[in-house]
Symmetry: none
Subunit: 142 residues, 2 copies
């Protein structure tokens, strides 16, 4: 439900604006009978309108939409695992993760392994990617 709305909102907007444009054009058409206008004028108006509409469409539909948080619970990652994931994403080695958390290397490895299985990945690089995609970790500063 919610997801469907979210996914298709852009198309609703698209449809709405298309409709408005069409109505506007019809009004212009019938009100002024068009032929009184230079044909270039008419084309120019349409061109400018659609140009801006296209630019708007292009820029708005390609903005990042920020993944949602419900993912975290679904994946069942524990607090500790999220900590580890955070450190992983900072490019730390297993040993460094262990040191930062004051646990043994084995423990760090255990956490990391369970992270992999919960994220359904095979390598740490993939885990980091997935964590980024799902916004499980703090995004890199910009």
């Amino acid at each position: 439900m919610k997801r469907l709305q979210k996914l298709n909102r852009i198309y609703w907007i698209y449809g709405g604006i298309m409709g408005l444009l069409m109505i506007a054009l019809q009004i212009i058409h019938y009100k002024t009978m068009v032929r009184d206008m230079e044909i270039e004028m008419y084309g120019g108006i349409i061109g400018v309108l659609f140009l801006f509409f296209g630019i708007w469409l292009g820029t708005s539909s390609f903005k990042k939409k920020s993944a949602d948080k419900y993912d975290r619970q679904k994946l069942g990652l524990s607090k500790r695992e999220l900590e580890v994931l955070e450190l992983l994403s900072q490019g730390l080695s297993n040993q460094e993760v262990a040191d930062k958390l004051f646990v043994s290397l084995n423990t760090a490895k255990t956490h990391i392994s369970s992270i992999y299985s919960k994220l359904n990945v095979k390598r740490r690089t993939q885990a980091i990617q997935k964590a980024r995609d799902m916004a499980l970790i703090h995004p890199p500063k910009e």
Copy 2:
């Protein structure tokens, strides 16, 4: 010189396409005298053309501008190394990189090693991070 061309290429393309559109419209205009066409047809053509042009403009010119390519040259990364870096950033293993590029594992490893030394990092995760920071690779989709 080269840089100037590179930076302004978008505007050259812009100008070129604008010109072509204008010429095309003029041809349509004079060849068919337009009035033989439905006015809606004419408007529709212009609308569609400018719509797509606008979308193209919007998507291409408003993408994050990414610390640009001069970085790449400064770092001295070769074309091949950038390819490898790209694949690394996708979470592929050395073997997978080798397979994708149709080279041996040894070759892939060589490239990767030289990437590390040029980026001044010790691990692939760090290389990926640095590559992202410097926009040496394509940003994650969305």
